[in-house]
Amino acid sequence: MNKHEPVGRKLDLRNGRVELSHGSGGRAMARLIGEIFHAAFDNEWLRAGNDQATFDVPAGRMAMTTDGYVVSPLFFPGGDIGKLAVHGTINDIAMAGARPLHMSASFIIEEGFPLAELKRIAQSMGEASRAAGVAIVTGDTKVVERGKADGVFISTTCVGIVPAGLELSGDKARPGDVLLLSGSIGDHGVAVMSKRENLSFDTQVLSDTAALHELVALMVETAGSAIRLMRDPTRGGVAATLNEIAHQSRVGVRIEEKAIPVAPQVAAACELLGLDPLHVANEGKLLAVVAREAADALLTTMRAHPLGADAARIGEIVADEHCFVQMTTAFGGGRVIDWLSGEQLPRIC
């Protein structure tokens, strides 16, 4: 436990709620941080009890990323906001081919938020961070008035080291390159939606939230700079990511519907609500644009890892001045895959 824990009564973790005093820098805040966050994340930096973490950095180029997490509901099948925050930030580093080093986490908590839930979230983050081997070395906590935050907002920042010679970038896709997808799509979005009010349906679908850095390390080992770029299709789904790539690289994308893995329950839930899996969020998948010659070897590598077991080659990059993302349907017909404007909403029509 944190040796700087203040004296006095412990938090009522079962029935207590977060109060404004927990954010005001005094004893109450020290107690909250100690009993909830330090207890869950426990590592040498947090134990040192400073406002910052210091560490040696290996030689090379650094990668840095930051993300905010505002998902609702906070707890969903397969995960929670905390786990998402850890994985999501690690993944952003991994998409540069980089090895994540350490991360920070800041919390904005709504007055009245149950301590039991905060504890649950913190524990989930601690577990995720230990499993990934990326420590949460520093953080911050603020409490805002009731109504000014949706329970809790989490922001994470992560730093990592890019392997020498690797320069993945969204503008590096070239005609002739091949598109690889690490696994099935739509799981996260469907899992979250199944818990939303007014949409409840029963499903065994779990969020696919996962840290991809180990899979990425294997891919980099196999193919190095034959990998042009990688991206994880989160909000907006695969459709948004492919359009981003097309526009950044000024190319066209052509994919095959038959090649895209979708779990039967995810497909069924999407049918029920009138959603297109291509627009549904994922939290444990990656898209890679790779040189054609390297595609087969990479697929073998990916499929050997649990997070890439269903990896598939889904399409290729072509020259296209309009930067269209086009899909050949299972029918042999053609359609454009566009960004969606705003969030995808269920439909009756």
Binding site: D202, T203, V205, Q265, A267, A268, A269, I348, C349
Partner: protein, 76 residues
């Protein structure tokens, strides 16, 4: 018009409700508009209501007609 999907009746519930499923995704819906349902029947589901029972025999006929049309089309 409108998004409707065939769903399998898994359980009949009181007040003219039922639990149906589409490939393992379950939902509680109203079956007030369709009579004589048994478990295993398929219904057309729209905005939380079953609108019709799917006639298995007619479905088979339709599929047979489709295959027939396809065979003719496949001939050189």
């Amino acid at each position: 018009m409108c998004l409707a999907i065939p769903a399998r009746v898994e359980e009949l519930l009181p007040d003219q409700m039922a639990r149906v499923s589409v490939d393992g995704v379950g939902k509680i819906v109203s079956v007030a508009l369709v009579d004589d349902l048994t478990i295993g029947d398929y219904v057309v589901l729209h905005v939380g209501y079953a609108l019709a029972k799917i006639d298995e025999e007619e479905a088979m006929t339709t599929l047979a007609l489709l295959r027939e049309a396809a065979e003719l089309g496949a001939q050189p």
